[in-house]
């Protein structure tokens, strides 16, 4: 029993992408509904066909969306735990629901509006309230958890702080340089320049990169994702049913999520990962299972859509997914390997989170589908297989291989 090629992504829908807060007066709910209806329409399906929600990071409340949109009957509603690490894996959740006969048409989505709530926000102030609710938590006793005092004193409470720690260790072990991080940011910006949906379309030079505000050394402004709003949805159904729909099917060749148990929550509050994979994206066990399921290896991948909340994690994923040996990701990107034109493995041809928009991984799924349909803005000639990843964050992280 395997998920290989038994299901397909058949529809993609999205709102425009907005700078943080500019999606008002829409709401996260209204944008979710808009993306779902657009994805169903793209597939040639309607809301009457939808019966499953296979999401991640609790991106929406299926009860609310189903009632608002009038879904006739929900037969499957589940979310991968943790956060953006599950983005690619949510396609595998859909495949699992469909191949086990529990649902026929599933949607995964992310909807995000950072007007009032900022994902990169910190737990500063409020007497530790941000560490666990403080005295204002609506849950339970409202107490600060006992682990908070072990963490809070360091003042490292924003995502960039955490990823700076992984990056510094990677630099120490392998000689990774800021120039390597810059190549990730600059190559993705080059891709975004040609893409109308991208929010950052001005060229980025090496000088601008090095003159940018240093935030959490060694990470500067351009190593960080943007803060954006918007929603993207993807519809999955069986390979059989996919044959009769509007677009050629994009088959789910394999999907895996999880991670080593001791990877744990990995960042923010933990940092107890064993030495041999501390300075990684946590995706090595995912890559192994994913390639085995799909019967493929890194040499079969034509385009890689790697979750890029921070530029160095692209480098670590290139290593974890076997595009280069562990420790050589920096020189691998410096040699031009991830460029759309001339690269051995074009990466984030849509501009990624760094330059197109940050919808917590869903834009990567959208780009993979466009590449495999052959209508991407930065089309990789003859692309047949795309890798999409989620995370790196706390367990589970995830990866999915799509093929046309």
């Amino acid at each position: 029993m395997t998920l290989r090629d038994k299901t397909a992504v058949v529809g993609i829908g999205a709102t425009p992408y907005y700078k943080r807060g500019e999606s008002l007066p829409q709401t996260e709910l209204s944008m979710a509904c808009r993306a779902i209806l657009a994805a169903l329409d793209d597939a040639g399906l309607t809301i009457k066909d939808l019966d499953g929600f296979t999401i991640y990071s609790s991106s929406c409340d299926p009860a609310q969306v189903a009632s608002v949109l009038g879904v006739p009957e929900v037969r499957f509603a589940a979310s991968l735990t943790s956060g953006g690490g599950g983005a690619a894996g949510s396609l595998g959740l859909a495949a699992a629901a469909i191949t086990s006969g529990q649902a026929e048409v599933c949607v995964t989505l992310m909807t995000l509006q950072q007007a009032a709530r900022r994902l990169g926000g910190s737990a500063v102030g409020d007497g530790g309230a941000g560490l666990g609710g403080g005295g204002r938590s609506p849950y339970g006793s409202g107490g600060v958890p006992s682990w908070a005092a072990f963490i809070g004193g360091a003042g490292l409470m924003a995502p960039g702080h955490s990823f700076a720690l992984l990056t510094k260790r990677h630099m120490h072990l392998y000689g990774t340089k800021r120039e390597h991080l810059a190549e990730v940011a600059i190559s993705q910006r080059e891709n975004a320049i040609r893409r109308p949906t991208a929010l950052q379309r001005e060229p980025l030079t090496l000088d601008e990169y090095f003159n940018a505000r240093m935030i959490s050394d060694p990470l500067c402004l351009y190593d960080y994702t943007m803060e954006t709003d918007g929603a993207v949805a993807a519809v999955v159904t069986s390979a059989e049913r996919a044959k009769d729909l509007r677009h050629p099917p994009v088959f789910i060749a394999g999907s895996a999520h999880g991670g080593m148990g001791r990877w744990g929550s990995a960042i923010f509050t933990y940092f107890q990962m064993p030495d041999d994979y501390f300075a990684s994206s946590g995706n090595r066990p995912i890559a192994k299972r994913l390639y085995a399921m799909a019967g493929m290896g890194p040499e079969d991948v034509d385009v890689a859509l790697l979750y890029d909340h921070f530029s160095p994690l692209v480098i670590m994923q290139l290593e974890d997914y076997g595009f280069c040996p562990v420790g050589e990701g920096g020189t691998f990107v410096a040699d031009g390997n991830i460029r759309w034109k001339g690269g051995s493995i074009p990466v984030n041809t849509h501009g990624g989170h760094l330059s197109e928009a940050y919808i917590i991984g869903m834009t990567h799924i959208r780009e993979a589908v466009e590449q495999l349909r052959g209508d991407a803005v930065n089309q990789v000639d003859g692309a047949e297989v795309a890798l999409v990843t989620g995370g790196p964050s706390g367990l589970p992280v995830s990866g999915t291989l799509l093929r046309r």
Binding site: S122, A123, V124, G125, D126, G127, G128, L131, G143, V144, P145, S146, W147, A148, A149, F150, I151, G152, G153, A154, G155, L156, M157, A158, H161, A164, L165, L166, K168, R169, H172, R213, M214, I215, S216, D217, P218, L219, R262, T269, F271, Q272, M273, P274, D275, F278
Partner: protein, 148 residues
């Protein structure tokens, strides 16, 4: 809050909000001692304290004094303050410390690292843990350059 000082991240809590699993750590901290729970079955150190040993799943721990020294495993220099109120604190150095006497992973601490030049601090630098008394119930551990 006492006056802000560049390099020293101000304590955001006045109490460790300890429970039975963590109280011995904070009791020792008030005395200036670094202690950690060590699994009586297999010897694994677990910090922050947890209800189970991740090596053998034991639940019986012995609180053990550590040398109070260690090594910088990784760090970041925070140069952009999280809020305007912290403008006087940046740049500050914080990171992961591997504690002498433990097995490393599983007993690392995430600490503010004071007393180093942010431009020259390196992974592998030796540190000692010191305790910054915040209140009658809370002494916050920080790291600083080890005395030769």
């Amino acid at each position: 809050m006492t006056a802000l000082k560049q390099g020293t991240y101000p304590a955001m809590m006045q109490d460790p909000y300890a429970d039975a699993t963590t109280q011995p750590f904070w009791d020792a901290a008030l005395q200036g001692r670094l202690v950690a729970p060590r699994c009586r079955s297999c010897g694994t150190y677990v910090l922050p304290p947890q209800p189970y040993c991740f090596t053998c799943q034991g639940t019986d721990f012995e609180w053990t004094d550590l040398p109070g020294t260690g090594t910088i495993y990784t760090f970041t220099v925070v140069r952009h303050p999280l809020s305007k109120a912290l403008a006087a604190v940046v740049p500050y150095v914080s990171g992961v410390i591997e504690l002498d006497g433990t097995q490393g992973a599983g007993a690392r601490m995430l600490l503010n690292i004071t007393g180093f030049d942010p431009e020259t601090v390196q992974i592998g630098d030796r540190v000692e843990i010191w305790f910054d008394k915040i209140s009658d119930t809370f002494a916050l551990p920080r790291a600083r350059p080890a005395q030769a």
